[in-house]
Symmetry: C2
Subunit: 187 residues, 2 copies
């Protein structure tokens, strides 16, 4: 009954996600988003309400991509070797984006302060918990490990993963390989 949208929301969100990923939330201005998404500021606000709303959708888009890696992990029967493979897969995933900027969620957690938007903080917590649970569910398959050990190792691995996320931004592949091999030597 009226004029139709000249853009697809999923498509433009992915473009926004890439820009946020490359530059961080604060550094990414509406001007830059207009250019990258190829649509006018009006359309961004019509579709996503605010810069925050667009960023939340971008985070969800990112998490969708990570979930593919997590599903691969959970469907594998490699045990701890599968988790190690996830670490390597994650590096490859971040390299695919042609700029090496680690994990968007970790970067966001590093950027925001306590006064940040509650929904964003919530998404960060959910995502971290989700990855930790994926690790724990794999570890739990080995019934020689009791729950205490599973929790300890999952806690260790999620922190090692946060470290890897930063490391992919500043260190070369041989150092990252060396890091991962050492991380998995201790479990």
């Amino acid at each position: 009954m009226a004029r139709q949208k000249a853009y697809n929301e999923e498509v433009v969100v992915e473009k926004a996600m890439n820009l946020f990923w490359r530059n961080g939330f604060e550094t990414t201005s509406m001007q830059m988003l207009e250019k990258e998404m190829g649509i006018n500021k009006f359309s961004i606000y019509a579709s996503f309400g605010s810069k925050n709303g667009l960023f939340l959708e971008s985070l969800k888009c990112y998490m969708g991509k990570i979930n593919i890696l997590l599903n691969t992990l959970e469907n594998s029967d490699l045990g701890i070797a599968g988790i190690k493979k996830y670490f390597y897969d994650f590096i490859e995933f971040t390299r695919e984006t042609d700029f090496g900027k680690g994990c968007l969620v970790t970067n966001t957690a590093n950027e925001i302060n306590d006064a940040a938007d509650e929904k964003i903080k919530q998404v960060i917590g959910q995502f971290t918990g989700q990855v930790r649970e994926a690790f724990a569910s794999i570890l739990k398959r080995d019934d020689t490990k009791d729950q205490v050990l599973v929790d300890q190792q999952a806690d260790y691995l999620i922190i090692a993963m946060v470290g890897l996320s930063s490391a992919t931004r500043f260190f070369a592949q041989p150092q990252l390989d060396n890091y991962i091999e050492n991380v998995f030597k201790s479990i």
Copy 2:
């Protein structure tokens, strides 16, 4: 021959450093700095030239504090146990500042993009190299390790340290303890 400064530059830099540490470079505005440092914008520009100049001095101030920990490490004869102690000392150091914000240099490295000020990028590189060398010099004291192993372990430890820096911001003490114990289990 003229009016004298009503403030001490070292004192106000430390205040600026704390504000930058708490909020990051971009989020910290000149308004906030004026308030925290207790001096007028004019005086800040007279003493430090620019927001960037003030930030560089703040980074140097931070590194001076870390150097105290590194000196303690290099003067100890605890070997790897001394490096482990440095990890714990670092956590305590970040907790002392009443807001838990990890390592200012790591945070800065996470925040800036490729187009950032060259001097800042240089300082980050120098600092990372300095900490890595401190680790390497301790590892080298054990003459059962060859140079290749020393380099590998130093590379591993510097990445683990970057990870710890982020982790202090989001994880509680038991998880951090668990992380450190696992890190040092493998070397």
